[in-house]
Amino acid sequence: MTSEAENRYADGFTEDALVRRVYYLNTLYELNQEISTLKDARAVLGASLLYLIGVFGVKRGLIVIYKAGQAQPHEFAHRGMHEDTAINAVRQLKRHLEDMAQGHSPGSMREVFVVRDDIDSPMAAWLKDYQFRVWLPLEIDEQTWGGIALGERLSEMTFTAEELELLSTIALNIQSVLNNVLLIEALHQSVIKETRIRNVFQRYAPGTVINEVLNPSNEALLLGDSQAVRRMFDEMIARLEEQHTLEQDLDLAHSVQAYLLAEPPHIPGIEVAARSIPARSVCGDFYDFISLNPYEVGVSLADVSGKGVSAAMIAMMLQAATRMCVGSYYPIPAILAILNRFMFRHTEPTRFATMFYAQVNAQRHTFTYSSAGHPPAMLCRNGVIQLLEKGGPIVGVFEQCLYDQETIELQPQDVLVIYSDGVTDAGVTPETDDAFGEERLEAVVVTYASLPAHALLDKISDEVAGYASGHKQFDDITLIIMKVDG
């Protein structure tokens, strides 16, 4: 590593902090990898708790989910405590959560709860009785909820804000996986019922159902091969089930992504608008706004290579990792360097991302940015476009990368346009590469720079859609517009 890089790393964080951060990111990644392959809720809870115990170094932990209308917990897992103690704990917890939900007890079942001596409530008493230090709720859906309780740490340290942020991110991942697993469990139950019905038909009216669902000209039917017909029927059911599951997975992934796309923030003196239009059900692009303090906001826009569910999953991981890095006030080049190493270590060599990250300070009127191989953002000032090109390589290809940053002094009426290449590549087809292009985008921005941010966003979207009209959208389209009041 060069001396320049050492200086950058010395600017605000230590080697220990870097080790801690990479350890946390690795845990987030590996936990997600592990639980996303699991098929039942109990296994997901057990694996999740194992990682939580290890990442925070806690002596005991409990993770539980309840379903409305069920007296017993749907599933739970525990570590560092006896089975009887854990059973008592989850029974009592259900009462406290229901009391809170019905307003009979102070507190909210949706809040992170950290035990303190000065807080006195039934929930606090429950946590203390079972030697827990922190409670984090899980909300799977309206009918399914629960939470995570973690005990005293080996280090005897309290949980920091950064660690609670990590815990929240992990909980979000666990919720997503549990949602999926519980859907599959429910589907499995319905398949069992359906199989019973089919068995009844086959016993009492063999062939009736089969003749209805298969084409009468089918060769097996004509030949009277009942075994072959039955195999076809079973294969067809299996394909339908698989298709149904895939569609549910896609719907779920789409919902999770939509949930993760942040609302444009309120920044004093700056209007913000953003939009992402996926080429498929889910998106390999993401944008995000992270509030750093009342006057400063982190803004990210990234484009993960590939499309569909695999790209969307990596995009979600990258978004979570970005939020964790940004929360600790690292310099922007360091944030991109950490994210680069994270992507390099944990994705296939063919996976990478371009990314633009900036911090807008409304008090100092500054916009500090760095671009990791991303199409240059545009600054439109007095009718002239300036491309924001400082940065470094795309993330995920090289293990060590250095990034530059640049600070722009914002002026009244400045317009900033951050976008993914789906905007400028719109209109490209396998037959022609006549894309919308940077020049058209610059022209639209200059022409309509006087419009409010959301109106300019609509105008650019309309122009792109009009240009690509009649052509299939091949790439995700993502745009952020920021306009300084004047």
Partner: protein
């Protein structure tokens, strides 16, 4: 990707050595638990977890270590560790494992103590 984990147990009256060859992850939990019980069926007070110097230990592996530490404390046993890379020594310190265990260069160091 993780390296497969193989666990061997050697025991004397004084010391139980649990040798971990490969990466310590969730997949090794049952084997580590079995090794602990096999090794600690006598009155040995000291346990050495001997990593191979290249072992990668993720959060799930650390949770397994925490489990062994708590079990050992309840029985008045002490855990030593060797072959832990500098990086993972930092991780062990971060999660508080070094408060309850002792990192040594070799098993000779324990015998000398």
């Amino acid at each position: 990707m993780h390296r497969e984990c193989k666990i061997n147990v050697h025991k004397t009256d004084q010391l139980v050595i649990i040798e971990v060859l490969g990466d310590l992850t969730a997949a090794a939990e049952n084997a580590m638990d079995a090794a602990y019980h096999e090794g600690c069926d006598n009155n040995a007070r000291n346990i050495l977890i001997k990593f191979d110097g290249k072992s990668r230990i993720n959060s799930a592996g650390i949770a397994i270590m925490i489990d062994l530490v708590i079990k050992s404390q309840e029985k008045g046993r002490h855990i030593f560790m060797s072959g832990v890379s500098e990086h993972f020594q930092k991780i062990f310190k971060l999660v508080g494992l070094t408060k309850y265990t002792t990192i040594v260069a070799s098993e000779e160091e324990i015998r000398n103590v």
